[in-house]
Structure formats: structure tokens, C-alpha cells
Amino acid sequence: MADEVRRRVENLLRELAPQVLGTLAGRYGQFDACEDATQEALVKAAQRWPTDGIPENPRGWLLTVASRVLIDEFRSDSSRRRREDTIFAATPQSELLGRPADSITDPEQAAANRDDSLKLLFLCCHPSLPVSSQIALTLRAVGGLTTAQIAAAFLVPEATMAQRISRAKATIKTSGIRFEMPEGDARERLLAVQHVLYLIFNEGYTASSGENLTAPSLSDEAIRLTRLLRGLLPEDGETAGLLALMLLTDARRPARTLPDGALVPLAEQDRTRWTSASIAEGIELISEALERGAVGPYQLQAAIAAVHDEAPTMEDTDWPQILGLYELLEKVAPNPMTTLNRAVAVAMVHGPRAGLELVAALESDEGMARSHRLLATRAHLRELAGDREGAASDYREAARRTASVPERRYLTGRAVALGA
């Protein structure tokens, strides 16, 4: 019961975190100080609410506490008087006293909240920050995770993660990055936000997730944040596509690994264990987005995942459709990995030899020739073509080249099974 309450409080806090920070940053501008103050307010709430009960206006409570933290912070500052006055002047009196809970339904207020959350995402994923910092900052400022939780999820010491976050905040401060909507480069900035969410999802989509109880599930968190982004930009097809892609991929998670962590390839997964609710939601999202036009790479990848998820068995998969989608994806976003995936689809439609020809064309690319993915794909196609010896040697070489333990185990197992 106590755990139940704590979880409810935690979920509520994580949902409110970007709203509170967004409001503060919008009002006072100083992102780094506002971020610290918000975290402090969240910690206080996490300590008190489970025992004291959730206040009637939780958002107002957090805003009030965070504003007080900011004031305390600035009190110890040399220019404290001026700043203190600014804060008092900028803080609506009603907020310091706690506002009625229903004011949140005010449409103007709701629109302002939406804008603040978006600005926050754009700020955290600002191109002047390294991607690893964009990820960390997004998880903390928008996701409301603690530095310790983020560090645990990425298997680095907390001090290291704290360093990345404080450095990112310092960069924002010193380079004068503003808390505002991007103007001319809005499209690219949105791509950066989507990319960060995609990376968080991929990082979390691991064999080991779930074993480590102190680390939050990053794929769940990525899905939650992408849902938030979709709520903010309901008309954006690629955001819908990204959410669909995550749901359709995550749906296979229960069947993707064995209890000992061993990988199960798509062809051998027990499809009855796939999460049907996620598949249904993903398919609905992607169908709706595709109808609207302006197709992008996330939508195409989601469409491919949907075709896989709709097939009751590997044999029933509509490979010609998958091939067509990969051809489109290659046109929209050319990438050797996409070509490699297309080779598998080509093999399923036109036979393994045709697939191997396409792989051979990629071998001239120096980066790809050494990649374990190319070798693993070639191994699979050689196996389909009946070349057991060639397949086994490719599986073995691919196993040597991957740094992923489950992949290495899987690839070695295939080589052994071929007995060559």
C-alpha cells in the first residue's frame, strides 16, 4: 500500500516536473537555477506527499516551493536584492498562496504549459550540447528523473552523470541559449528532439533491462516522453511515427529474450507473447499518420515494424510490402544499415542469392565491411542459400566483432549449430 502511494506520487511528480520547470524558466529565464530549484521541490514533495498526502493543487505546491528555493538561492547571491525583487514581482501572488486546482483547465494556461514543455525539450536537445548531455538533461529536466537514476540506467558513476548535467547547464548559461521556441531552424530542432528520444529508447531496449531494479526502464521513459511530445505536436506525422515505432518494437520485448538473457531472433520468437495492446496502439498511430501524408523515416520504420507485428508467423510476413517500404526508406534516408535490412527483404522475396548480391555491393564501403552487422546478415543469407561453411565462418567473425554480450552469445551459438 505504501509502495502504491509512493509510486503514484512519483508518477505525478514526473508528469509535473517539466511543467514546473517550464513555468519557472519562462518566468525567470535562468534555466540552471530554475532546474536546481525544481529538483529540490520535487525531492521535498517525494519526501512529504507519501505521508502528508497529495496537496489539492500539486502543481501550485511545487511552484511555490521551487520559487522559495530560488529566492533562498538568490539571497546568498551578491546582487540578491535586485533578483529577489524580480522574483517577487514576477510571481503571481495567487501562486505563492497556492492556486485553486481548477485553474489548470483554463485554456490559455494550458496552452502556455504546452509551449513551456516544448521549449524545455528544445532547450535540452540544443545542438550546441553533446548528444550524451542532451539525453541526460532531457531525462532530468523533462523526465523528472534524478541524477542517480539516470546514472544507474547508463551504468556510469553518479558523479560522472552529475558532471555531464552540470556541464550542459553551464553551456546553456554561458552560450546564452534562450528558453524560447526555435524560429528558422524549427524543423531541425524537432529532429534533434526526436533523435534524443529515439536514442533513449534504444538504450533501454536491452536484454538486461528489468534486472537492474535501481535503474528505471529507459524504453518506458522514452515512450512516456514521446507521448508527451505527441500531445504537444498532435499534427506532426514523424512524432506519431516515432511513438508507433517504439510501441511496435517494445511490444516484442517479452518474446525477445529468454530468462537467461539469450536473444531470440524475430523468426523464432513466440508471437503469442507479444504485447497486443501496444501493437494495436502502434498500428492505429501509424495508419493514421501515413494517411495524412508527409512520410518520413520514423513512419516508414514504424510501418515496417507494423507489418512484422501483424504477421502471425515469420512465413506469413508480407515480405513484398516490407521490401517496398525499405526501398522507400532508402530513398528518404539513405543509410548502409537500411540497405543491409533491405538485403534481407530482397532475400525473402527474390531468394538468398539476390540478397547476397546486395550485401556484396555494401562490402566496398570500408566502414561496413568490418561491421558485425554486415557479417551477421551475410551469415544469415548464406545459411538460407545452403552455404553452411560460409555462414558459420561469418557468424564466428561477426561474434568476434560485436561488443554486445547477448549478440556475441547468439552469433557464436549459430556458428556452433551449423557445425561447420
Binding site: P265, S404, V405, E407
Partner: protein
């Protein structure tokens, strides 16, 4: 992506550095460690004691059995190692090349195995 950077050497090599230069060389390494700790990329860096202080440990009847050694057949042995977590392979090479002595002494860069796997 995590990588282990390793630097090898031997007593002969260290002895070739004039004593008056040591403070400066150490300061360079300290500056390196500080710089990449601040970027959130260096998770830890450690220098090793001389090979004479190293021991070989096995387990005999459930208890540690310690003997002298290792008796290295190679001329150089590990002098220090650094654990980094970086954006890309290229970045790992960049950090390796930034090692204060990288112009004279190579740094080994080894990828570290991880538990994640892309969709199979």
C-alpha cells in the same frame, strides 16, 4: 560506449625521463584527467605500481594462494588504465591521442562488452 585505454611501458622507459621533468609530466596527466572528468567522459584513471609489486593469486582449497610474479615475457607491462564512456569510437581514439605521451607511446583502445543488443 565504454572503452578501456591502456598505456604500457617499463622501468627503462620511465628512467629515460629526466627527474626534473617528472613534476611537469605528472601535471600534464592531472590536467588530462581533470579535463575529461569535467566533460563527463572519463569514469576513472589509475596508474599501476611497478611490476615487482605485483602478485599472482590463485585459489587453493578455497583460500587465496599468493605467489610472486607475474614473470612477464613481454618487455613492457601495463602502467596505467583509463575507463571512458564516449559518444563514438572516433571520440575514444581522440581521447587516446590526447594522452600526454601519445606522441611517443601508443595507447591501446579496447571496446568494453555491453549488455545491450539491437533488435534481432
Amino acid at each position: 560506449m565504454k572503452y578501456l585505454l591502456m598505456i604500457y611501458g617499463n622501468q627503462e622507459k620511465w628512467s629515460s625521463i629526466p627527474a626534473e621533468d617528472w613534476a611537469q609530466e605528472i601535471a600534464k596527466q592531472d590536467a588530462y584527467n581533470k579535463k575529461y572528468t569535467a566533460t563527463g567522459e572519463l569514469l576513472g584513471g589509475y596508474g599501476l605500481a611497478d611490476a615487482v609489486a605485483a602478485k599472482l593469486v590463485t585459489r587453493k582449497d578455497g583460500v587465496p594462494a599468493v605467489s610472486d610474479g607475474p614473470y612477464l615475457e613481454t618487455k613492457e607491462y601495463m602502467a596505467s588504465f583509463y575507463l571512458v564512456d564516449v559518444e563514438s569510437e572516433e571520440r575514444a581514439y581522440e581521447l587516446a591521442a590526447q594522452m600526454p605521451w601519445a606522441d611517443q607511446n601508443p595507447t591501446e583502445v579496447w571496446p568494453i562488452l555491453h549488455e545491450s543488443a539491437s533488435d534481432a
